[in-house]
Amino acid sequence: MSAPGVEVSELVVRFGDFTAVDRVSFTVERGEVFGFLGANGAGKTTTIRVLCGLLLPTSGSARVAGLDFSDGGKAIKSKVGYMSQKFTLYPDLTAGENLAFAAGLRKLDPGLARERTRELLDFIGFTPALTVLVRDLPGGFKQELALAAAMMHAPEVVFLDEPTSGVAPAGRVRFWELIYKLAGAGKTVLVTTHYMDEAERCGRVALMRAGKLIALDSPAALKREAFPKPGAAPSLEDVFVKLVEGADR
């Protein structure tokens, strides 16, 4: 029961002769809010796609919610929720229709789906009417609905790939309250972001560069390690720039 939420060991993903993920290892504890940072193209989404059972790794191993990939990722798929970087809602369907569609993909029976919908909307505190077209929802609410859609099947581990991209401050604050609430409810949350103020809110953050994991620690410890001089008060963005640029040029 107390297996970690995510365990990755020596994970490698190659596309032809290009190595997108290069011997990455890390562990995410249950109930942890784990941040996944890195420059564009560092390999964050590729790693997540493997952990969601959508892409087979070239080598290495991974366990999610205690399960491995020996069945091709089938069992894992039922334990993970995935909010993709590319938008996954249908703008011409209503909020309710989008949730029903997500439930259908997961083959939930309609009664259970209705119950889950009620529970989730309550948990999220979603206020717009379910009859509103997704197109007409303000962005912050779209993100909340996308999260609900990703959680219809009550997954144990949730992968959020840039969930707040383009969302304004108030919406981001609300979304992060939700992330904490999920973790509080025992879900394991792995979240990618390019907003350093959000990274600051993670228990631990992993930093990827060109396919490799180059740092992993709490935001405070990362700052101390990157800028050991007493009195230095670096921002996480300073740390990001230093670590990503450092070895590169």
Partner: protein, 241 residues
């Protein structure tokens, strides 16, 4: 030549919602003009009206060149626009995109070379020139869209949330690049939901629920309102997503 844009009482009704509810704004020629606001504030609708893609329900847009009134047709050839989700060709490589757009804009070879090299360096896509657009990461794809827009020599450039999904290092470099673009007297109108990016603009226009909250130089606006950053302002207004 420097292009100015002024709107007066713009309203735009989209289905049930009013996306713009009386927007009167003046975009200053030859500088970075920011349109800042939460999602759903009407930023995209405003930009689409400015480029003539949407007709306003009410109100007008007036353009000028070097201070003299000019018609939309006179401005149009010098206008560049990057939508929030750039549409690129999944099967064309990064370099093929650059070549395609350079042809389209009829860039002289020397200008093409210089500009594409600068753009590839800033976006850090030099090593990925042969990768097809469909295989780029989210942020790399966004950067390619930006490169295609920045390749030309427009006099008016409209960019709709160009930095969403772009990593912190590239965002910084992108703003520096935009600074070099405005040094060529290009008028840039750029929307963003990154509030701290407002400080990079010469003038900002704060938009909320289809209305203009305030316009001015960022430092002055902050002083007037007694705030350190614009995020504070929008958080204080609360409510909206």
């Amino acid at each position: 030549m420097s292009v100015g844009v002024e709107t007066s009482g713009l309203r735009k009704r989209l289905k049930a919602n009013e996306a713009l509810s009386g927007v009167t704004l003046s975009f200053e020629p030859g500088v970075l003009n920011g349109v800042i606001g939460p999602d759903g504030a009407g930023k995209t609708t405003l930009l689409r009206v400015l480029i003539g893609l949407l007709a306003p329900t009410e109100g007008t847009v007036a353009y000028s060149v070097d201070g003299r009134p000019a018609g939309f047709d006179a401005i149009r050839p010098g206008m560049a626009y990057m939508p929030q989700q750039p549409s690129l060709y999944p099967d064309l490589s990064v370099r093929e995109h650059l070549e395609f757009f350079a042809d389209l804009y009829r860039l002289p070879a020397a200008v093409y070379r210089e500009r594409s090299e600068e753009l590839l360096r800033v976006t850090r896509l030099e090593r990925f020139q042969d990768r097809r657009a469909g295989r780029l990461s989210g942020g790399m794809y966004k950067k390619l869209g930006l490169m295609c827009a920045l390749l030309q020599s427009p006099s008016l450039m409209l960019l709709d949330e160009p930095t969403n999904g772009v990593d912190p290092i590239s965002r910084r470099e992108f703003w520096e690049l935009l600074g070099r673009v405005t040094a060529r007297k290009v008028t840039v109108i750029i929307s963003t939901a990154y509030m701290e990016e407002a400080d990079r603009c010469a003038r900002v226009h704060l938009l909320e629920a289809g209305k203009v909250l305030a316009s001015g130089a960022p430092a002055e606006l902050k002083r007037e309102r007694g705030i350190k950053g614009f995020a504070e302002l929008f958080l204080r207004l609360g409510g909206a997503a």
